[in-house]
């Protein structure tokens, strides 16, 4: 009898494993970025507002900062915009907007319409910086500490449920940096 029931028991064990793995799958995707804990790639990009001005990630060494990837073509970026605006006010660290694969005119029109939330703008028209960063969709938000290490990556729009967590992480980075 045991021999006959054994396949059923093995099968039920497998189902149990799969069932309890389901809810954690989403979290695992969030964490599983190989860039977490690594140094932020060094890239140099023109400013979106004044194309003659050039910014580089190296300029930001010594202080924590937030890097928010967005585009005027991205509907979720509109959704998260109120939270990004609030983050710019409350975080107390530079908030860099990386405008990704966008037409400059469209991006400027977008800022005029929804407001400028960022303290610094980078224009990644070709998308090379985003490839270095491992961006696979907008919006994405990176938290980078004063040593230039990527501490956290938030995929998708920032919303009320993730905002507090992000702000806590930012405050932690500020404490580490002593500011």
């Amino acid at each position: 009898m045991i021999r006959m029931v054994a396949p059923l028991l093995v099968f039920l064990g497998l189902i149990w494993l799969l069932l309890i793995s389901l809810p954690t799958a989403e979290q695992r995707r969030q964490v599983a970025s190989p860039l977490i804990g690594r140094e932020v790639p060094n890239f140099t990009l023109p400013c979106l507002l004044e194309p003659d001005v050039i910014y580089s990630t190296a300029d930001l060494r010594g202080q924590p900062f937030i890097l928010n990837v967005w585009g005027s073509w991205c509907p979720s970026c509109v959704t998260e915009h109120p939270y990004i605006t609030r983050m710019g006010r409350e975080a107390g660290v530079p908030l860099v907007g990386l405008n990704w694969r966008d037409e400059r005119d469209d991006a400027l029109a977008w800022i005029r319409r929804f407001g400028d939330a960022w303290t610094m703008h980078m224009n990644d028209e070709e998308g090379f910086a985003a490839i270095d960063l491992g961006v696979y969709g907008a919006p994405e938000t990176f938290l980078i500490d004063h040593r230039g290490v990527i501490r956290h990556k938030h995929i998708g729009p920032v919303d009320s449920s993730s905002y507090d967590d992000l702000l806590n992480r930012i405050n932690e980075m500020r404490r580490d940096a002593g500011i």
């Binding site: 006959m4 039920l12 494993l17 954690t24 799958a25 989403e26």
Partner: protein, 656 residues
């Protein structure tokens, strides 16, 4: 309007499937001919409505109906019509629809082709079990993944079909693979019908064999096409990555390989019938497991669908119902069918048993490797991914005994045999394989362990298959082989061709990333590579940077290759378009890397030479063809004659 028509067709198909799942089964239980005879008509209706639903979705794609969400997400105005058709199965929802259409087609094929072969009560049960399977998939589609959902007002233009899927292999790969996946449900249904009928173990196995072989052939072909597509489309030049989704197709293949061999034993000798039933259940269950892995997002993979845990829960519940019920039925009924003849240590039975042990263990190890990251994560031991090192080592270990023993199998007699007798006709083949294999590897400059072993093993399989052919010829005076024998010879020789291909690719692939500026000429791997220019080109829905290469061997021009880096502007996606020249003994393979931005217009270029890589797919093609030839064996298609046993078989399901 067309989408609503499709929606209604799906619901009607669901109703017919629900009737099919119950009425004929009740008829078989009460021995009511009229109710049993309803099954084939219900199958026809079920198929017609599924076809209508599929055509409705295809039409929505062809006519740019962006008010259908699925169309708006996976297609746009620039997409040429053939890719719009492919887009029908490019998404999770659409692929489910194709899945069900194929299920409907298998049911129709069984109802038509096995009409004379199967007794009424058995046909009714088989079709009813498949009807139950269809109910599950239809509910899944209608409740969680409706391809006909609308968005009003619709956007003026849609997004894009994933550019990786914009390729002709994508037109054939998914339907072929699904033919294999869904075909496993036929073997499953036969096994369940066999369990329900009791006693009939030998007959149902014979009836089931051609269907299992056909499904296995399609599965092999589908996997082969996927591997080929990955090779030239992903731009990495690999042919197998041990990715969870690939494993999801490989696990049922291994189980089904064991199954077709176990069926041979059960049909001919009545030995291990319970094992055959268990494998039939396992083959379809691992298909469902694969569907779960691909569609629930439980494992991350390069080609998973857009994921949704809710779908995962649905598939899991469905698996519990289907496999759980089947295994419970097995636990209750199998003791009754457990009667087999004994056999000696050296016998056809034991060679096939060895095959089964290795195939099943290999399948178990692939399952373990695929699910291991889940287990580790669950135990809180961190996140790991099990990569090619584990799979390759494990797999080679499993395959060596299979390759070594495979040619012996066909020469072995049923019941009891003598090792010396079995081996004597193969002595010449073995010696030739060792000598010639070593010589060829040495001549090709591939004198390493993997290549030499591969050549010896591959030739041993091919010559072993030929030796069997000669042996049969001598025994029968003239060459008359059954479909089963011809298929077996073809398939076993095909494995030999495959083994040679794998061994050469794995040991001798040449790969370099080189800087090329326009006008550069370089000598690499015995060829002269000249980059004439780098130019922009424009396609229907993409723009690209194209490198124009000419390859020379000595002074002779061999080919011109034009790899591209494409930008699909709608999806803003970068895609590498490989350029390759195929050859019997080697493929020349060029892919564009990145621009070096050093002011000279130079790019990094990936150059690869894959020796004997075509042999991998050609071998797999021979295996596929062999299985189809075997499925056509006349023995399987003899009309059924009612006997006294018939009535007893029908009564087998009556409560005692």
């Amino acid at each position: 309007m067309i989408a609503e028509f499709g929606q209604i067709s799906l619901i009607l198909a669901l109703i017919l499937a629900a009737l099919l799942a119950t009425v004929p089964l009740w008829g078989a239980y009460r021995n009511n001919q009229a109710l049993m005879n309803l099954a084939p008509s219900l199958v026809v209706g079920h198929f017609v409505f599924l076809l209508a639903a599929f055509l409705a979705l295809a039409t929505s794609f062809l006519r740019h109906d962006f008010t259908v969400i699925n169309v708006a997400i996976n297609s746009n105005l620039l997409l040429p019509w053939y890719y719009r058709l492919v887009a029908t199965w490019g998404s999770h929802e659409g692929s489910l629809l194709v899945w069900m259409l194929i299920l409907g087609s298998w049911m129709l094929a069984v109802a038509l082709l096995s009409r004379k072969v199967l007794p009424n009560y058995f046909m009714a049960r088989v079709l009813a079990v498949m009807g139950m399977i269809s109910v599950g998939f239809l509910l899944f589609t209608i409740l969680t993944s409706n391809p006909f959902d609308r968005i009003l007002p619709g956007p003026p233009d849609g997004q894009d079909l994933n550019p990786l899927l914009q390729d002709w292999a994508m037109i054939v790969h998914p339907p072929m693979l699904y033919m294999g996946y869904v075909g496993m449900s036929v073997a499953f249904a036969f096994a369940i019908a066999g369990l329900l009928s009791g006693r009939m173990q030998k007959e149902w196995v014979r009836w089931s064999r051609p269907w299992t072989l056909a499904a296995w052939a399609f599965l092999s072909a589908g996997i082969m096409l996927g591997s080929w597509w990955a090779y030239y489309e992903l731009g990495w030049g690999g042919w197998w990555f041990w990715d969870p989704v690939e494993n999801a197709s490989f696990i049922p293949w291994l189980i089904a390989t064991a199954l077709i061999h176990a069926q041979a034993v059960t049909e001919k000798r009545g030995a291990f019938p319970a094992w055959t039933i268990l494998l039939s259940i396992a083959a379809f269950s691992t298909v469902l497991l694969g569907a779960f892995i691909v569609r629930s997002g439980v494992l991350t993979s390069v080609h998973a669908f857009a994921v949704d845990p809710e779908r995962g829960v649905f598939i899991l519940s469905y698996m519990v119902l289907v496999t759980g019920a089947a295994l419970a039925l097995y636990a209750v009924r199998a003791p009754r069918v457990m009667t087999g003849q004994g056999f000696g240590y050296v016998s056809r039975e034991s060679t096939l048993l060895i095959n089964n042990v290795f195939m099943s263990v290999a399948a178990a190890m692939v399952i373990l490797g695929t699910l291991y990251p889940l287990l580790i994560d669950l135990m809180g031991w961190g996140q790991i991914s099990v990569g090619p090192p584990y799979f390759s080592v494990m797999f080679i270990l499993m395959m060596i005994p299979i390759v070594a023993l495979m040619p012996l199998g066909p020469f072995t007699r049923w019941g009891q045999d003598d090792l010396k007798r079995v081996f004597s006709p193969l002595t010449v083949s073995l010696i030739t394989a060792v000598v010639v294999g070593t010589a060829i590897a040495a001549l090709l400059g591939a004198f390493n362990v993997r290549a030499v072993t591969g050549w010896i093993g591959g030739l041993w399989l091919i010559l072993g298959a030929l030796a069997y052919l000669m042996h049969q010829k001598k025994a029968a005076r003239r060459l008359r082989l059954t479909g089963g024998q011809t298929g077996m010879i073809l398939a076993h020789a095909g494995v030999g061709v495959f083994v040679i291909g794998v061994a050469m690719v794995e040991s001798m692939t040449y790969e370099r990333t080189v800087r090329f500026a326009p006008g550069d000429t370089r000598e690499l791997a015995g060829y002269t590579w000249h980059l004439e220019e780098i130019a922009p080109v424009k396609g229907k829905n993409w723009i690209a940077t194209e490198g124009r290469f000419t390859v020379y061997r000595g002074d002779r021009e061999i080919t011109r290759l034009n790899p591209q880096q494409r930008l699909y502007h709608r999806g803003q996606q970068v895609m590498t378009q490989v350029s390759l020249q195929a050859g019997i003994t080697r493929d020349l393979y060029i892919a564009m890397g990145e621009p070096l931005n050093d002011g000279t217009g130079a790019w990094s270029i990936r150059i690869q030479i894959h020796p004997f890589v075509r042999w991998i797919w050609f071998g797999a093609f021979m295996v596929t063809l062999g299985a189809l030839v075997a499925a056509s064996d006349q023995r399987y298609w003899k009309p059924y004659r009612a006997t006294a046993e018939d009535a007893a078989g029908a009564q087998g399901a009556q409560p005692a």
